[in-house]
Amino acid sequence: SQWGEENLQALSIQEGEDVTMNCSYKTYTTVVHWYRQDSGRGPALIILIRSNEREKRSGRLRATLDTSSQSSSLSITAAQCEDTAVYFCATDEYKLTFGTGTSLLVDP
């Protein structure tokens, strides 16, 4: 999982597999953002989950949020090569605090 002083996590999977990335956060938040960052580009929001939602889906993406354990997860179903990117979780409604990220490589 990502956060704090942990090194960038790296995952490598085959196309068609499912994958889950985890994130734990340190301070109270009512929202967790998940961003993806393609090489050489800025981060882009892919899904946002609030504390009253526990689970949020968007296409092949599924985010969960457990405020009691201060953790969130992002799952991708049937990953495609174009899902290759670095994925970050971030907390706080306004002043985002980012985790260290998970580098996902999807091989054909």
Partner: protein
């Protein structure tokens, strides 16, 4: 279309020199942010602003100043650049919900 534009996209500076990174947004957002990204650290907040004339310190403000002369523009200023400030810098704007990021400025301080 909502946009955040950073300039320059690449910059090489000398140690001790002054560097200004510029950011322009056409989203009419009140909040703007400057982050730096280094391998293994994710994105770290340097300065942010709630509107024209306001600047606030983020998590790593030392060695940086910010200026918000208008709703659209937010600058990051390195008065005396050091090699430790070599990084990729991202500007973002956003109010409620998730900020929109620019494409980044790659700064090398030699």
């Amino acid at each position: 279309e909502a946009a955040v534009t950073q300039s320059p996209r690449n910059k090489v500076a000398v140690t001790g020199g002054k560097v200004t990174l510029s950011c322009n947004q056409t989203n009419n957002h009140n909040n703007m942010y400057w982050y730096r990204q280094d391998t293994g650290h994710g994105l770290r907040l340097i300065h942010y602003s709630y509107g024209a004339g306001s600047t606030e310190k983020g998590d790593i403000p030392d060695g940086y100043k910010a200026s918000r002369p208008s709703q659209e523009n937010f600058s990051l200023i390195l008065e005396l650049a050091t090699p430790s400030q070599t990084s990729v810098y991202f500007c973002a704007s956003g109010d409620m919900g998730a900020p929109l990021f620019g494409e980044g400025t790659r700064l090398s301080v030699l």
